[in-house]
């Protein structure tokens, strides 16, 4: 018996009124595995991930995290286990610098009299170490994020998601708005996370990016699993056929 999957979702069903968004979907990610999640708009990708992060509760099915059955009632529950989400809009406070963004909501403090004040040197040091480990290069950690390039912002958002012992990072369209060179850097960053044992779920419409970086590609079509393909050997046509399958 091999080690349990990092996350295993079985028989997940979700209805919104009469609409069946997901119909007994099985999904799993191994430690250090990149799974691409593709499908047309409304295929159920984001609903599935919102169930995994605790935003929605499934109507049927179970979620196991490292072999243990879990129930998430809010995104905080999933985050506590190390499941992080990088949203398409990045969720960065652009007026704040990289250090502030990495630690937003989880600031390091030190006691001064009766107060707990921000421990800027400690946060800056840890931020620098973390970015170093991910080999993310920024002009300065103290520059407001709005002054960084799109790719640099994406890197900051990913670094933020992985700064606190993340085990699974879900990325929603991380390369959608980036130029080719910057997208390449983000894909490199995803590989580096995998090498560190972090599991990654990559939601993207850019199929070439998904095929480049994913170990497995799962295709959803109208709330069902249309197929699972090995990432590196799959052909683009096969993926596209599964995405549009049934519609044609």
């Amino acid at each position: 018996m091999s080690a349990p999957a990092r996350v295993e979702m079985r028989g997940i069903t979700k209805r919104f009124g009469p609409v069946v968004a997901l119909q007994s979907v099985d999904f799993s990610v191994q430690p250090g595995e990149v799974v691409g999640l593709v499908g047309d708009n409304g295929a159920g990708k984001s609903t599935l991930m919102k169930i995994l992060t605790g935003v929605y509760r499934p109507d049927a099915g179970e979620i196991r995290f490292e072999g243990r059955q879990v129930h998430f009632s809010s995104p905080l529950d999933s985050r506590r286990l190390g499941i992080e989400m990088v949203y398409q809009d990045l969720g960065l406070a652009e007026n704040l610098d990289t250090v502030a963004n990495l630690f937003l909501g989880r600031e390091l403090t030190r006691p001064v009299w009766l107060w707990r004040l921000l421990d800027e040197p400690a946060m800056e040091r840890r931020a620098a170490e973390h970015l170093e480990a991910l080999r993310v290069e920024l002009p300065s950690l103290r520059l407001a994020v709005e002054r960084l390039s799109g790719g640099q912002r994406q890197a900051v958002a990913i670094a933020r998601a992985t700064a606190f012992a993340a085990k699974l990072v879900i990325m929603d369209e991380p390369t959608a708005s980036l130029a080719v060179a910057e997208a390449g850097k983000v894909l490199e960053l995803i590989r580096r996370l995998r090498d560190q044992g972090v599991s990654v779920v990559l939601i993207s419409h850019r199929l070439q990016d998904v095929l480049d970086v994913s170990d497995r590609v799962m295709v959803l079509n109208r709330g069902r699993v249309a197929g699972v393909l090995p990432g590196h050997s799959a052909r683009m046509e096969d993926v596209v056929a599964l995405i549009v399958g049934g519609a044609a």
Partner: protein
């Protein structure tokens, strides 16, 4: 490249500090011009002490307004709340309440109206703080007239008058002897506390994040509704403090006190470099904004310029301050 950012001493930080200096330069320039124009009046200790005393209540209102503006909000009610708190302070004093109790009542009342503003925004989901605070502006002003019967109430406690009009003389008996208004010391203490709160605590950081990008704050697990209620409560409480200082200065609670004061506080915040879109602005800048407004009024008074013209100049200063900010931001964007 990451390793290059030296903690606390980055070049960016130096440049940011220089960019903030321009307000200080404006203040120095105004002092120089006023000294040249009114050599026998302006740079006297009496006059400067007077200016410091006169800006106190606007400075305190502006500090509260800054907290709200950082979250991309606005509090139109602060002037009315200040007037209401003054009247309640005077009535409590008249009713024989101990000084400390009536002071506490005035500040607590301000905080209470602030809580109403915050809850109207977060619980009733009124679309913009403009609306909730416009409502409390009217409610508080009406309540002030009702409570006071529309007439001024004079005779405040010695403690309140001490806060609003007494001086602390430093270096007494020497040629350097200078009277510093107690109210100005209160302002300095509040701005010091405000700076620590906004720039050095996690909650202060969350306020900037909330103003910069509310979704980022939500994703980070920050309770944004609680934060919003907190800033309106603090803003209301500071309006109460401002009312105490003004009542102590004029030794009276008059029902028209604070009419239009919300606009002065907003002006100080904007001149001080805060952004109306939230996420930007420092207590230091707003303090200088209040000082600039005070110096302008004082200088124009010394030169016998009518209050009507003073209002015109304040308006032009607001335009100029924001335009300079627009230019600076555009330059920063071109640079990056």
């Amino acid at each position: 490249m990451v390793g290059r950012a030296a903690p606390g001493l980055g070049w960016d930080r130096v440049r940011a500090a220089l960019a903030r200096m321009d307000l200080l330069l404006v203040v120095l320039l105004m002092i120089a011009v006023l000294t040249a124009l009114q050599p026998q009046f302006f740079l006297t200790r009496e006059n400067l002490t007077n200016v410091a005393r006169q800006i106190a209540s606007n400075a305190v209102l502006a500090l509260g307004q800054l907290l709200v503006v950082v979250t991309a909000g606005i509090d139109l009610s602060v002037g009315s709340v200040m007037g209401l708190c003054m009247t309640v302070l005077a009535l409590a004093t008249k009713a024989g309440w101990p000084a400390l109790a009536s002071l506490a009542a005035a500040v607590a009342l301000g905080a209470g109206v602030g809580a109403a503003n915050g809850l109207a925004l977060t619980r009733l989901h009124l679309p913009h703080p403009f609306i909730a605070t416009l409502a409390t502006l009217n409610v508080a002003r009406g309540a002030t007239y009702l409570l006071s019967g529309g007439v001024p109430i004079s005779g405040l406690s010695p403690e309140v008058r001490w806060l609003g009009s007494a001086d602390l003389t430093v270096f007494p008996g020497t040629p350097l002897a200078t009277a510093i208004p107690i109210s100005f010391l209160v302002v300095v203490a509040l701005y010091g506390a405000g700076t620590v709160f906004l720039r050095r605590t996690p909650t202060g950081r969350h306020l900037y994040a909330l103003g910069g990008n509310p979704r980022a704050a939500q994703y980070a697990g920050i309770d944004t509704a609680r934060l919003l209620v907190l800033v309106y409560v603090l803003c209301g409480a500071l309006a109460g403090v401002a009312g105490v200082l003004l009542a102590g200065r004029v030794n009276s609670a008059y029902p028209t006190a604070g009419i239009g004061a919300e606009l002065d506080s907003i002006a100080a915040v904007i001149i001080g470099g805060a952004s109306f879109f939230g996420g930007r602005g420092t207590p230091g800048g707003v303090f200088l904004g209040a000082v600039i407004m005070g110096l302008l009024r004082n200088g124009l008074n010394l030169m016998n310029v009518s209050v009507f013209w003073q209002q015109v100049f304040i308006g032009l200063i607001i335009l100029l301050a924001v335009y300079v900010d627009v230019l600076r931001r555009r330059a920063a964007q071109l640079e990056s």
